[in-house]
Symmetry: C2
Subunit: 344 residues, 2 copies
Amino acid sequence: MPGRKVILTMQVKDLGEFGLINRLNAMVTGERRGPDNGSAYAFRLLVDTGDDTAAWSTAAATELCTTDTVVEGVHFTRETTPWHDLGWKSLASNISDIAAMGGLPLYALITLGLPPETDVAGIEELYRGMLEIGAEYGVAIVGGDVVRSPVVFITVALTGVRSGAPLLRATARPGDQAAVTGWLGSSGGGLKLMLEKAAVSEPAATFLREAHRRPQPAVAEGQLLARSGVLTAMDVSDGLADDLSKLCLSSGVAARVYADRVPIHPRLQEAFPDSCLELALHGGEDYLLLFTAPAPVMAQVMPALPAGAAVIGEITAGPAGQVTLIAADGSEQVVSRAGWDHFG
Amino acid sequence: MPGRKVILTMQVKDLGEFGLINRLNAMVTGERRGPDNGSAYAFRLLVDTGDDTAAWSTAAATELCTTDTVVEGVHFTRETTPWHDLGWKSLASNISDIAAMGGLPLYALITLGLPPETDVAGIEELYRGMLEIGAEYGVAIVGGDVVRSPVVFITVALTGVRSGAPLLRATARPGDQAAVTGWLGSSGGGLKLMLEKAAVSEPAATFLREAHRRPQPAVAEGQLLARSGVLTAMDVSDGLADDLSKLCLSSGVAARVYADRVPIHPRLQEAFPDSCLELALHGGEDYLLLFTAPAPVMAQVMPALPAGAAVIGEITAGPAGQVTLIAADGSEQVVSRAGWDHFG
């Protein structure tokens, strides 16, 4: 019919990454059926889809499992991330998810999708990077899969363990303070430096490249938070604004962040004075922990964190998922988006 | 220098899939360092890289973890495998690995690599297929990841559980009989049927398509084998010749298979009388169990398997990994290859 538009199908890019994930998560929890094979072993599911990791309790411990994937050209390029660093980072992002639950990482399965022309020496370097971070954090690679693919991708599945209840995203309450365990935006600054070939001082360049290539997941910090009575945490992997928004959405709360309290490393400030706040809010791949707690708990935990931490704002009763940035002059701006959409 | 050939780099296709896997497995076991985070919880690694799954013991149970990936255009096409069936099969191949250890499947993490133009309704169908087999076998999807990718790929990571030691690949001994828990080659026959649009009877077409699209992992059979004193098993996913060769390589033994004992379903025989043995040996995706045991154990376990099973040959002290086929006329032929090389 003239003038009538018929939409036949919806594509993933129309729905967006988080729209699709939400729809699939609703299916797998709402339509789950069949026997519970774990019940004979007293396994009980504690954390379902939607947090940093899944978690279940057993007679032995609380067990955690997470997975994370990077695709060449989407999440990395070999120009900005050499094979060795790619190995480090592929495991780091998964270790960071375990850290965000207050757990220790244990066993990893590595899946490589590789074009047949891939250089074997490069793949060995990739594995050396994984072995290096594995040795530092106590991760054993115990299996995996190698498949042919037109594009390089790396999927890591990682288990973890802890005693007691894991740190969650859904437990933030109005009145909580919100804090982060380290400097924000440094990894994004490193990427920007490499992509734009920006002229910055050698110490700043070294610091920023290292932050981008060798992130240090906050496993010790996650353990300390959980021991200190903190209930709510997630890792910052997509940028503070996005990740705080996700945490707030999970908890049905909003947040206010004070721009002058966002911890920005002097080297990032020096290298990118005009965009460092933007990088801190939206840069991604910092792999530190974002957590919330009532002021008395926060007062106890802050001095105990060895590398320091910063209270950046507070949780409020506003619209679920909304993050408002308060500038130094008192002006306010909503900075939350619906998550960084890889399909947009 | 004239006449001198300099090889600068080795590519994945030069080394081959199994060459690469062996090299990486040697690295991750030989160069593993760092703290054992599981020791405080009495977790002990039982099965390292190279079997159907990794396995570790805890105070609660023996726990298993496996992962398997399919890439569009390499492992499937949407013409021969609709989304719903692709969901079923993606989980089936992982459940089959858990079955091969004698375990029950538990929790799955699903990673989807998707082009932005992918039809959302198709992805929901994919998940319905996963939910359907999940309900049948007791698998709960508890998390995952959705990433943008130029090619569709699906990675499943699946945990499992059992009491006691898992069934292994490395424990076959000369003198063992070798057996399979079902008909071989039917899935490969279904694929051949669809690719070649072969003219076969409707009952045969229905049987073969179903075998290809809806494989039934042998979880009950794996449990029964383990309870009956069988020590050695793996699942048949790449074809009998390849998988038996891998089992023999793990155990440092060889095998002899009698062509007239290879179980071929009458429908496959009817549809492809000339190639059914070839399909049974090399077809792949049958997802039944291959196991070995001394004759007295085998005599006890065979009648107990509800869907039947067939002794197809025996384990010998020959060259590690060599599989010899004995034809009905007594002639012999080595049928083992170095594994089906996806990169070749």
